[in-house]
């Protein structure tokens, strides 16, 4: 049970207004492009127009002749320093600047440095690259064809196959399918999309030749990991590198990888002895930085005629582009995709994933997806709807029948996960009530009789976040603990530093609330810092909804260490024994003598002025938290759509989101996260696609065609919650940032398919656009 604190203390559960707002609403944030250093120069990347081509030569003479251009770095220059290639986050390497050949359109080929950004752009245009085009491979289904070009000449094994991964029991699952009364099948593509945070990626690299210290302001969601990687790759001693991740304008996973532009800026700064700023444009961001998804999936469910599911079989082809730059824990080439049994009690399951190379931008990062959990949740929720359709059963009933019951936790899934806690029926029932489900089905029947199209889509997702326990999880070898260091000052104020890095999630406020909860110090008196590797304790960063489950937990544990010491000091001051003291947020008092008490402020002062003999002065602690398990937030989302038969346009009439993320630190912040994630899901479900034509030209590579919803397309979101605490987390929280992006695409797609189900439609691939809907209606003789 979490003690309730006063609004003044502002502990867990209070909707404390955000501290970070003050500078941001005044336009006084400090984003990377706001950093201005004396002598700073600008970098601009020269990029390949071709998807696959040999580089015959790079001529920099005209660029270098342009007044104001200071340097042009090529792949050959980097190769001399052993830097033309760098390791990716996932057992592969990628080119920093191309040598030999290019493997995707927009790949980095050279880096021009000039006195100002306009000259750098002019200089980039003057770099001449002689390309010899090669045959292009863009269809991942053709990657393993013998006739397809082998893309990666640098790899020992000459193949476009990156990995095969499987989990579960193939044989037993096969048997379950053979016995099955009913089998449902769906082929579902989760299309290539992009996190597109409003601030693009960039850095200011400042190598101080006098001190040998490199300071990098960086759009980084994981500053410490980046520092370590820069040290290893760049050969600069790690104590001479300082990464500062200042205000970040959205991340969503896009700012987890290390990009060639960063490395080039560092090299340029070393070479010139001046700070080098590199800020990519939106087009560069969409065309070359970490894309998301591109999973080509098949799911089969074996079930009884009564609708009880028995087994799940999943096969996936993963398109990783030219380099496997996926940000995944190192033992998980397909991330946590094996959560694909979802909220349902399957007895048997088997899942296999094959990763392949294509001539496309590299990656497979986690776009607000907890490492492939969006793909998994989308797949199972679509498959359950297909099963419901095949059985002519109501999709809500089918789910309720198959949910893992709330008394079966911790639940061991057939694919190896131990779900911590859940009450799926409660969330579902609340959502059904909020949306008025029965009335909607009645309305749908009436509308169908009149030829009008409306649909109801349900998604009852379970996701898996908070990576993760050291025994199983690491990224590039670094274990996925996270950390917090707290120092309480003599006057009772505190500073808490974390190894995570907020890009809008409100850590400065919410993490302060955790410390406020544990110590009873008012949240206004607690400064929270993240992002400076010189001062913050080591952490793996913010993505995978892991900050609250890991760093937040570390904050609670560090605070409890402080409270333990505070108790000793209190006992000394009160001349009582520790066993005779009781704690309420903000003070220790003697049991039975409430007047005899010491506040945390008095104790803090004493820690510097009147320390018990034998005890060190000071009042601080650091904790590195190794989560014992992941956490499993869940929820039910229900979407209602109306379809315009004449144009195929889809209007979201209502969207209800019931989320369960255990105990909530700041309800206002959680609600904001849900709104934002649902809006991203809307874009993904209905509008977004990064595609390539047969020549490897990217389509949807700028904001004219990569469509981000405006306030007009975005509907009103109705949110609510249930609360099933995590039994293993210090304050029962699970994390929630990704849930809305994980759970919502299926709700949107299920709604549209549901609207057309009576016409025999079983599946439509995303983005579900008006023209796709219209073509279906035309085929059925309803439109056109």
């Amino acid at each position: 049970m979490i003690a309730k604190t006063s609004p003044e203390i502002g502990g867990i559960g209070h909707s404390v207004k955000r501290k970070e707002d003050l500078r941001l609403i005044q336009g006084r944030g400090n984003f990377v492009d706001d950093v201005h250093l004396p002598g700073m120069v600008y970098g601009h990347v020269v990029r390949s127009p071709f998807a696959h081509a040999r580089i015959k030569g790079v001529n920099i003479a005209n660029a270098m002749a342009l007044p104001g251009v200071l340097a042009v770095i090529t792949g050959d220059d980097l190769a001399k320093a052993g830097l033309a290639w760098m390791p990716t986050l996932f057992h592969d390497k990628q080119m920093v600047l191309a040598t030999g050949k290019v493997l995707f359109q927009a790949q980095e080929v050279a880096f021009v440095v000039a006195e100002d950004r306009y000259t750098a752009a002019d200089g980039a245009e003057l770099v001449e690259v002689d390309y010899e085009e090669l045959p292009v491979l863009v269809d991942p289904h053709r990657s393993l064809d013998p006739s397809s070009p082998i893309l990666r000449e640098d790899r020992e094994e000459k193949s476009n196959h990156i990995f095969h991964w499987e989990v579960g029991d193939r044989g037993e699952t096969e048997q379950a399918f053979q016995r099955a009364e009913v089998k449902a099948h769906v082929d579902a593509v989760f299309q290539r999309c992009h996190p597109a945070p409003l601030e693009t990626c960039g850095c200011v690299a400042d190598f101080n030749t006098a001190t040998g210290r490199l300071t990098i302001w960086l759009t980084s969601q994981a500053p410490h990991a980046h520092r370590t990687l820069f040290a290893i790759v760049g050969g600069i001693p790690e104590n001479n590198i300082r990464v500062i991740s200042p205000d970040i304008g959205g991340g969503f996973g896009n700012k987890v990888p290390i990009y060639p532009g960063y490395v080039c800026a560092v090299v340029a700064s070393l070479k010139l002895g001046r700070p080098v700023k590199w800020i990519e444009t939106r087009s560069e961001n969409l065309q070359s930085t970490g894309f998301a998804r591109d999973y080509h999936m098949t799911a089969e469910i074996a079930a009884g005629r009564d609708g009880k599911v028995k087994a799940l079989r999943v096969k996936t082809l993963a398109d990783h582009g030219a380099f496997n730059a996926a940000a995944q824990p190192s033992k998980f080439p397909a991330g946590l995709f094996s959560i694909c049994t979802g909220s349902y009690d399957f007895q048997k399951a088997f899942c296999e994933v094959d990763g392949v190379y294509t001539n496309k931008a590299p990656g497979g990062i986690a776009y607000r997806c907890s490492f492939r959990v969006t793909e998994a949740a989308y797949l199972i929720e679509r498959a359950m709807d297909v099963l419901a359709h095949d059985l002519k059963t109501d999709p809500a009933e089918l789910r309720l029948k198959n949910f893992i019951p709330s008394d079966r936790f911790p639940y061991q899934s057939p694919l190896g996960w131990s779900y911590d806690s859940g009450d799926y029926a409660a969330a579902m029932n609340r959502a059904l009530e909020m949306i008025g489900y029965r009335e909607l089905r009645k309305e749908q029947a009436e509308k169908r009789a009149k030829g009008e199209l409306m649909g109801i889509g349900i998604s009852s997702f379970t996701e898996i976040v908070g990576a993760g326990p050291a025994h199983t999880f690491d990224i590039a070898g670094i274990k996925m603990f996270d950390s917090c260091e707290i120092r309480v000052h003599p006057t009772g104020k505190a500073i808490a530093r974390f190894g995570t890095k907020s890009q809008g999630q409100g850590h400065e406020t919410a993490f302060g609330q955790i410390v406020a909860q544990e110590l009873g110090i008012p949240v206004a008196d607690i400064t929270v810092e993240e992002g400076d590797t010189d001062t913050a304790p080591y952490g793996l960063g913010t993505y995978a909804s892991r900050s609250t489950p890991t760093a937040g937990a570390a904050g609670a544990m560090a605070a409890r260490k402080i409270r333990d010491k505070a108790k000793k000091i209190a006992a000394y001051l009160l001349e009582a024994s520790e066993e005779d003291l009781e704690w309420e947020p903000g003070k220790f008092s003697v049991k039975g003598a409430p007047g005899k008490a010491k506040t945390i402020q008095e104790i803090a002062f004493a820690a510097y002025t009147d320390v018990p003999p034998g005890l060190e002065a000071g009042l601080e602690a650091v904790h590195y938290y190794d989560p014992p398990n992941l956490t499993f937030p869940f929820g039910t989302y229900i979407c209602v759509v109306d379809i315009d038969k004449g144009t195929g346009e889809i209007k979201v009439r209502r969207f209800v989101a019931v989320d369960d993320c255990g105990n909530i630190i700041n309800p206002m912040i959680v609600e904001g996260q849900i709104h934002g994630g649902l809006t991203e899901g809307l874009g993904i479900a209905f509008m977004q696609l990064i595609a390539y034509d047969e020549s490897g030209n990217v389509q949807g590579g700028n904001f004219m065609d990569y469509l981000v919803p405006t306030a007009v397309e975005t509907p009103h979101w109705e949110t609510d919650k249930t609360c099933t605490p995590s039994p293993h987390h210090p304050f029962g929280a699970k994390g929630v940032g990704e849930s809305p992006n994980v759970g919502s695409p299926a709700a949107f797609v299920n709604a549209v398919v549901d609207a057309l189900a009576h016409l025999g439609v079983r599946h439509i691939d995303m983005p579900v656009t008006p023209w796709k809907v219209w073509q279906i209606l035309k085929q059925k003789g309803i439109a056109g």
Partner: protein
């Protein structure tokens, strides 16, 4: 993102502007709203050596009825059209059109004149001006001339304007009583160009028969198109659902859409049919008011 270098000049009279355009020929471009030109320059797709900023040239503003015409100055901003009480009350088809051009920020700078002069088949005003039978007034070194809208759009990004001519005014013959028009645009999201757009303007007589009709199509061809066959099918007929449907079908058949990221050709044709129907129905409703 960074435009190439250019020289910039801001003339304070129309003659100065024209003289500069003559002097620099193909090396010069007119800068009015800049909301189409500047993005192209930032992508380095347009590289004029000279920008002639005409925003200080007087006499290019104003929305007024005069001498049987609705006159819209070449520099009138889309936002002004959107906010104009006169336009809203008497020319709702133009209000329909202005309000769906790009987004509110762009509309504060983008000009109606520029929307025509740029020659982009994806722009919205052309179809509406076709439907209204508008005329373009242009001033150049040889003086002022009037270009009928049907002669104005020559090919993609090419209009009938001479290199040293400036579009100074759009004039629309004031429709007779019992006239109404509407513009329907389907876009993937606010701020996008049309997947397809249809403008319809009708005048009906006492018996409800169509006396005059104009139908313009947006972004379904290399230029904005007039749906001539559809118009012919409507003239003189009573505008009931069957007649409207037939006209819509004809408009779809005479459109020339291409498949692209906004959708396949078949879909765009289907949209032309549907939006023509909706535009005619709304135009008729407004004509009857």
């Amino acid at each position: 993102m960074i435009p190439p270098q250019f020289e910039y000049v801001k003339p304070s009279t129309i003659s100065e502007a024209i003289a500069l355009l003559q002097q620099h020929g193909d090396d010069a471009k007119v800068l009015s709203g800049g909301q189409s030109l500047i993005p192209m320059m930032k992508l380095r797709l347009a590289r004029p050596a000279w920008l002639i900023d005409i925003n200080a040239v007087p006499g290019l503003g104003g929305i007024r009825e005069d001498g049987g015409y609705l006159k819209i100055g070449g520099l009138v901003r889309e936002a002004e059209l959107e906010a104009s009480a006169l336009i809203r009350a008497k020319y709702p088809i133009i209000h329909d059109t202005a309000r769906v051009i790009a987004d509110p920020l762009v509309r504060n700078l983008a000009t109606a004149g520029g929307n025509l002069a740029h020659g982009d088949p994806a722009n919205d005003h052309p179809a509406t001006m076709i439907a209204l039978g508008a005329e373009v007034v242009a001033t150049g070194s040889k003086g002022t001339r009037v270009i009928p809208i049907d002669s104005f759009f020559v090919s993609i990004f090419t209009t009938a304007l001479e290199p040293a001519e400036i579009l100074t005014e759009i004039r629309i013959p004031i429709p007779p009583p019992s006239s109404g028009g509407a513009y329907f645009k389907l876009e993937r999201k606010v701020g996008d160009f049309a997947t397809a757009g249809v403008a319809a303007q009708v005048t009906v007589d006492g018996s409800g028969a169509c006396q005059r009709v104009g139908i313009g199509l947006t972004n379904v061809g290399p230029t904005p198109l007039r749906a001539k066959n559809a118009e012919t099918a409507l003239r003189g007929k009573k505008l009931d659902n069957a007649v409207i449907d037939q006209a819509a079908q004809l408009a779809a058949a005479e459109s020339q859409p291409s498949s692209d990221l906004r959708g396949p050709e078949e879909y765009k044709r289907g949209l032309v049919k549907e939006l023509t129907r909706r535009a005619l129905v709304r135009a008729l409703e407004r004509a009857r008011r």
